[in-house]
């Protein structure tokens, strides 16, 4: 097929909707003006858009792409295709499916074929589709700050590199952890091509200590593959493994597998400073200061060795660990080698090495070693580095001593960055060669040895960008494209290792691309002897407050700061959006006379930061938790100057004081009241009681009477159940819903006014003492009540019940009285206070041609003044039913998966037909743990919850 064909695809019915055309038409039918400027208009903006448009309408989006499952002869307008690919949101490299509609990827979901991730996808991964349409991305390469063509760039850089080689100067490729084996091979080859070239790996948030500790303890400088799925007891030490640590989706999936209440339910004990997502899920949580990590671990180690020697111990955690030896797991997020060595010793003593700690199929994430980076910066400052190629890193922002890095960078004659935007670092370099978005490029990944994953482009590059690998290949003079290079690598290195039955390599390749993931046979993990030396004691920290730095679930290390979806994603614990802050324990705050929102100076002898105070129950006394990843200055309109950069605090985390500035700011929180007030909203029990009585904690049910005959439930009766025991609160569902349903971003001010638009929210409640409360997370969306209070009060029938049990909201009928929202006991309805699309006041996602391309064309973009809410993904229900109808078969349970359900890494959400006795959701409706929130109101929701069971 040639490009002419593509044009004609475009020209067809779709082209008619271009804006200029609409103007003409609107004169003909004036009453339709307002109607036409919605979905179709937005959808088709993409077609008039430069590069994307042509590729978009190709019969196949990109020549070599092989669609997942369905092999279309051609793209049918209005029919989505799914392509398997791999996430590049962090190094976890989750297997993804990209939904491509009319040539544009519009939704990212987890790939259920992936053995590690099993269909889960985190908030960040799902939000990457929005970063594809980020207006701040560079549209062309830059040479000395000016736009240039790739030929010019290649020529100039080629010359520079040649000069350096001739001079015998050092060239360094500074990158984040490379999880792609092919890219690693390419970098090796590159470094060999240029004499004196080397590759340095730098992770802003590194696991350097684990690597070193393992080298010292077991002689393997590697990040082990932690097997949470094999652990019956998990002890975490400041490791937020469900939220941000190493591979949260994989860990969440593995962790929740055995968190279903049963005799062998996994138990989880967490020692931590700030209240993390992981800690909020722990069965026992012990607040400790960061400096107590070592002593705590050491105590545990001693107690366990006492137990081993038969001396006994009074330490509960140690007893528990000893009871579960061989099937327990101790993890620490500390970046102190000594702490990690103690943890290693503990795992070795418990016989976990080779079982829950796999050092034979190691994780290939977080390979950065801090010392190497420090050495490089020293070299740069000494002027020893002649060429520096920055790939996927932003040290001018996230290197703790960024000034030293910048001064070093200025001494590098030739500096090149592959950054996709002019960020803090790339705005200082000589040449910026923008890397393509991962959805635009070929690549592979191996997050854990033997678990391979392929990235395939789902659309042609939107701009004149080029994948970094392609650039490197060009500069080393290799005349192959990266696709060929990748395929060749797989032919030589991967294909021989695969055990599947393939006719040819082509067959192997096609299937691998189609599936997106490939598992190579794994090594049998072996037990290893601990050979390190355990420190005898840890130093006491200087007087003052200690700072505990952490990553937030949305922004992580800050690379996604310009993604408004992630900025507006409420922190799962604090529920604050668009900011970082100094979290203090209630006691400390009241001792210092501080209230929430007070702006304070957090300072020690080295650094000082101005941050608003957030009062965090469960925060360890005398600690301040501050999130990294904020305070970007060069990431784009959404993320610039949001919060404060806390990286400079990394080297000096102790001896802080907090000083009041007298100013006060409002933190944009989506929830401001934190107690359930004794109401039975989240029902919970403890395992021991549950085992005696499966309805423990859920005994009380109202006897519901009705005055009149109920409406018949003949056809389908959709329902949902949410397992509060599985839900970790990771908030992936929020982004999934936002992407699927065109939920607008409203910005910090509007969130402060409590006007966020998320259709699904995660309610978080604390109970117990405020020094160390118990936490519950509860996803809350429209409960689709059978006797819906909202429906009765709408004067214009804009919200009524469907025959299949859904509470329908008809946007185009709504006049906006908000009566329904007032009368909703769950407060899940969202009102369009303003026009959020095409409004300069809300310049986030829907205000530019590019931003609107992410919109789901099957869903209306709601206009100002109408109510909206969760529809239980009615478009997916319709699509599923249509598919079954076209194929002449009944629907199967689980065939329709709503967005939040699909993305949930914990698989806490189940959607299905309540009228079908065998469906999972109908079965869960008869579970002893099943209940409806606010059951006594007799509103008869179809969304129900399963009680939370704590293993304590």
């Amino acid at each position: 097929m040639n490009s002419d064909d593509k044009k004609y695809w475009k020209g067809l019915e779709e082209l008619r909707e271009e804006p200029q055309f609409l103007e003409v038409r609107s004169k003909e039918f004036p009453e339709e003006i307002s109607q036409t400027t919605r979905r179709n208009f937005l959808k088709l903006m993409g077609f008039s858009f430069t590069g994307a448009a042509l590729a978009a309408c190709a019969r196949m989006p990109v020549e070599k792409a092989i669609p997942f499952l369905i092999k279309p002869e051609e793209v049918v307008p209005g029919v989505a295709n799914w392509y398997a690919t791999t996430c590049a949101g962090c190094t976890a490299s989750c297997g993804l499916l990209a939904k491509v509609r009319d040539g544009r990827p519009i939704k990212i979901e987890g790939n259920a074929e992936s053995p590690l991730f099993q269909g889960g996808a985190c908030a960040v991964g799902q939000a990457t589709v929005l970063s594809l349409y980020d207006d701040e991305r560079l549209k062309k390469p830059l040479w000395l700050g000016n736009a240039a063509s790739w030929e010019e760039i290649d020529q100039s850089i080629g010359k520079e590199l040649k000069d350096i080689v001739n001079r015998g100067g050092k060239i360094v490729i500074l990158s984040g952890t490379i999880v792609s084996p092919t890219t690693r091979a390419l970098l090796n080859e590159w470094c060999q091509t240029f004499t004196n070239a080397r590759h340095v790996v730098y992770d802003a948030v590194s696991a350097s200590a684990i690597l070193s500790a393992n080298e010292k303890s077991f002689g393997v400088k590697a990040l082990p593959h932690y097997r949470f799925d094999l652990a019956k007891l998990v002890v975490g030490l400041n490791a937020d493994f469900l939220g941000t640590w190493i591979s949260p989706v994989e860990f969440t999936r593995a962790y929740t597998q055995h968190r279903m209440p049963s005799h062998d339910m996994t138990r989880h004990i967490q020692f931590e400073s700030g209240m993390s997502l992981t800690g909020s899920n722990a069965d026992r949580r012990i607040p400790i200061n960061p400096s107590e990590e070592g002593p705590t671990a050491l105590t545990l180690l001693k107690e366990i060795s006492n137990l081993k020697s038969g001396a006994g111990s009074s330490n509960e955690t140690a007893q528990d660990l000893w009871k579960h030896r061989g099937e327990s797991l101790v993890v620490s997020g500390s970046n102190h080698v000594d702490v990690q060595i103690v943890v290693n010793a503990m795992n070795a003593l418990l016989g976990n090495i080779g079982k829950t700690v796999d050092l034979d199929n190691v994780s290939l994430q977080k390979q950065g070693v801090d010392d190497e980076m420090n050495r490089l910066v020293d070299e740069m400052n000494r002027g020893e580095i002649q060429g520096l190629i920055l790939y996927g890193v932003n040290p001018a922002y996230d290197f703790p001593d960024s000034d030293r890095f910048i001064s070093g960078l200025k001494k590098v004659p030739c500096s090149v960055s592959f950054s996709d935007r002019l960020d803090e670092t790339s705005s200082l370099v000589q040449a910026v060669c923008p890397d393509a978005h991962f959805l635009e490029s070929w690549n592979d990944a191996e997050p854990v040895q033997g678990a391979l994953s392929l990235t395939q482009p789902v659309l042609r590059p939107l701009f004149a960008t080029r994948s970094a690998q392609e650039s490197l290949l060009t500069w080393m003079g290799k005349n192959v494209d990266y696709y060929t290079y990748l395929r060749d690598y797989w032919r030589e290195k991967i294909y021989p290792l695969s055990t599947g039955l393939y006719l040819t390599f082509d067959n192997f390749w096609d299937l691998s691309v189609q599936n997106g993931v490939l598992s190579l046979p794994a090594q049998t993990p072996t037990e290893r002897n601990f050979s390190g030396s355990v420190p005898i004691a840890f130093q006491n920290p200087p007087k003052g407050l200690e700072v505990h730095l952490y990553e937030k679930i949305g922004l992580r290390d800050g690379r996604h700061a310009n993604n408004p979806w992630l900025q507006e994603l409420p922190d799962p614990v604090t529920k604050i959006t668009w900011d970082n802050y100094a979290a203090l324990s209630p006691k400390t705050a009241s001792a210092l006379g501080l209230e929430e929102g007070d702006v304070v100076l957090v300072k020690n002898d080295y650094v000082s930061l101005e941050l608003p105070v957030q009062i965090q129950p469960g925060q360890a006394a005398l600690t301040v938790s501050v999130a990294l990843g904020y305070g970007r200055t060069h990431c784009g309109k959404a993320g610039n100057n949001v919060g404060v950069n806390a990286y400079p605090l990394i080297p000096h985390p102790t001896g802080f004081r907090v000083e009041k500035t007298g100013r006060k700011v409002a933190l944009a929180a989506t929830q401001t009241h934190h107690s359930m007030e004794g109401r039975p909203i989240v029902k919970e029990t403890i395992l021991a009681e549950y085992i005696n009585n499966p309805s423990a904690g859920n005994e009380e049910h109202e006897k519901l009477l009705t005055l009149w005959e109920e409406w018949p439930k003949e056809g389908r009766a959709w329902g949902m159940s949410i397992d509060l025991n599985a839900c970790t609160g990771c908030s992936a569902c929020i982004i999934s819903c936002q992407a699927e349903n065109n939920v607008p971003v409203v910005g910090k001010d509007e969130v402060t006014r409590r006007r966020e638009m998320h259709w699904i929210r995660l309610d978080r409640y604390y109970s117990g003492p405020e020094e160390n409360p118990e936490t519950v997370h509860q996803p809350m969306m429209c409960q689709h009540c059978g006797n819906a209070p909202c429906e009765t009060v709408c004067p214009v029938l804009a919200t009524v019940h469907s025959t299949d049990g859904l509470n329908q909201q008809v946007y185009n009928r709504c006049v906006g009285t908000r009566y329904c929202a007032n009368n909703c006991p769950y407060k899940v309805r969202r009102f369009n206070w303003f026009d959020y699309a095409h409004n300069d006041q809300f310049d986030y996602t829907m205000n530019s041609e590019l931003g609107t391309m992410v919109l789901n064309p099957d869903i209306v973009v709601r206009s100002r003044g109408v109510m909206e809410k969760c529809s239980l993904c009615i478009q997916r229900i319709q699509e599923g039913k249509l598919q079954a109808k076209r194929e002449g078969r009944p629907l199967k349970d689980g065939e329709i998966r709503v967005a939040c359900e699909q993305s949930c890494p914990a698989q806490a959400i189940t959607f299905g037909d309540l009228n079908e006795k065998e469906s999972r959701v109908a079965q869960q409706n008869h579970d002893g743990r099943f209940y409806h929130v606010l059951e006594e109101l007799n509103v008869r929701p179809v969304v129900g919850y399963l009680t939370k069971v704590r293993n304590k």
Partner: protein, 453 residues
């Protein structure tokens, strides 16, 4: 029992005509002009703010996902409540043959019309898409036709308010026809002759018409009386039929109706005290009128106080923790101060009216009437806002702070109200001459058989 005369100064029938028709010939006084300019300014500001709100979005108000109504519906209920006194005076007191209503019923009815007008603004502008407000009427359309939801209290409101407005307007106008004829016959300027000629529809004082006219007035009064009760009952059902603790209360219909009468009479007092001063009508609107009104305020104020107590008792007795919390939160929650204002203004202040000196003193009466007006606004605010801001799920609890647009719109409706009222005072008979004249005639020849009013 001998009552003091209802009007002072023993005016002749001719004098009555002359006094009431004075605005036809005289230029407006300075006080009137000043008041009118103030009112107009407020109105124009209101119009500007509403325009801004409709162009930009409801987001210009301080509402949020939890609190969907606050100032808007508070103002609506407040103004509807104000309106009730007018109907009560003209209709219910007519049925009870209370003569003291005669000099004040016209102005009170005008107050009703203008208050309902102000009230009707809010249901329209509080909509997200007010340009589609006509969708609330059941009319044949191209959508199937798609009708409306007759189960929604908001729809009942539409019918109640529009019926109330229409019937009040008809009642007011019909009651004015004889006086408009007087104006017509006294008019000097051309435009006055044309306008009053048109409005008085050829009224010639025929007793055959008078006879029917009396029947008509009685019938309309008979219709208006249950109507006025139904209107505030239906308004209260906006809340009473909901599921929100603090709203879902069966006491609301009588409580709202009494509250409406209470606030309405307070507003009547305010207006009459000003009108009699500005329009020199001290002889017609006398202390006896004001005292009667004050007694109504005292009675209804006490009933309102009883309602507050009953509400508290019911919430305690219900055993529902949500109900109990809602009321606890009203009193000692973050908006407790509004509850304090409400109780102080509505329950404590009117009790001073037991003292005759206070209720027959223009100044104290005026102050109390203003306080009651404020208190009753806060009552609606307390009911609407504090119930919403903390309902079932604590995760959604939120705070509310009005924006300048909301405050300005409230002031704007006062502008609308007073602009209308001041124009009314200038161009229409402020006092029902045909009802006052028999009283004047009686005063002059007291020996005769009394005529009814």
């Amino acid at each position: 029992m001998i009552h003091p005369p209802l009007i002072d100064g023993r005016p002749t029938v001719q004098q009555v005509t002359k006094d009431i028709c004075r605005p036809l010939h005289a230029r407006p006084g300075l006080a009137w002009i000043a008041a009118f300019l103030c009112a107009l300014t407020a109105l124009l500001m209101g119009v500007g703010l509403v325009t801004y709100e409709i162009r930009t979005g409801i987001g210009t108000w301080g509402l949020n996902k939890t609190i969907g109504w606050a100032f808007d519906i508070t103002n609506f209920v407040f103004w509807v409540g104000i309106g009730h006194a007018g109907t009560l005076i003209s209709a219910i007191l007519l049925l009870f043959r209370q003569k003291w209503r005669t000099s004040i019923n016209r102005a009170a009815e005008a107050m009703t019309i203008f208050a309902v007008l102000c009230a009707a603004v809010f249901p329209v502008i509080h909509m997200g898409r007010p340009w589609l407000a006509f969708w609330v009427f059941p009319y044949p359309n191209t959508r199937g036709p798609l009708w409306v939801n007759f189960r929604s209290p908001l729809l009942w409101d539409v019918f109640a308010i529009s019926t109330y407005f229409t019937i009040s307007l008809v009642f007011w106008y019909i009651g004015m026809i004889p006086d408009l004829a007087t104006f017509r016959d006294r008019a000097e300027k051309k435009w006055q002759k044309v306008v009053y000629g048109f409005l008085s529809v050829g009224w010639n004082g025929s007793n055959r018409t008078w006879s029917r006219y009396e029947t008509l007035c009685l019938i309309l009064a008979g219709l208006a009386t249950p109507l006025v009760v139904s209107v505030h009952t239906i308004v209260s059902m906006d809340f009473a039929t909901s599921v929100i603790p603090g709203w879902h209360t069966t006491i609301f219909p009588p409580y709202f109706v009494v509250g409406a009468v209470f606030s309405g009479f307070a507003m009547v007092t305010t207006l009459l005290i000003v009108t009699r001063k500005v329009m020199n009508l001290e002889n017609y609107i006398t202390m006896r009128h004001l005292e009667a009104v004050a007694k109504v305020i005292l009675t209804t104020g006490s009933i309102v106080g009883l309602a507050y107590l009953t509400e508290l008792f019911t919430s305690w007795y219900s055993g529902s923790s949500y109900e109990q919390f809602a009321f606890k939160n009203r009193i000692i929650g973050p908006y407790g101060w509004t509850y304090v204002i409400m109780v102080t203004c509505n329950v404590i202040t009117p009790q001073f009216l037991w003292v005759k000196k206070i209720r027959t003193n223009i100044v104290t009466l005026f102050i109390i009437s203003i306080i009651v007006n404020i208190g009753m606004w806060f009552e609606r605010f307390v009911i609407i806002m504090t119930s919403l801001h903390r309902d079932y799920l604590p995760s959604s609890w939120a705070m509310y702070r009005p924006t300048f647009v909301e405050v300005g719109t409230l002031i704007g409706t006062f502008g609308l109200f007073f602009t209308c009222f001041l124009i009314f005072a200038r161009v229409l008979p402020v006092i029902a001459m045909w009802e006052v004249k028999p009283l004047a005639a009686e005063l002059i020849s007291p020996h005769r058989e009394s005529s009814h009013g």
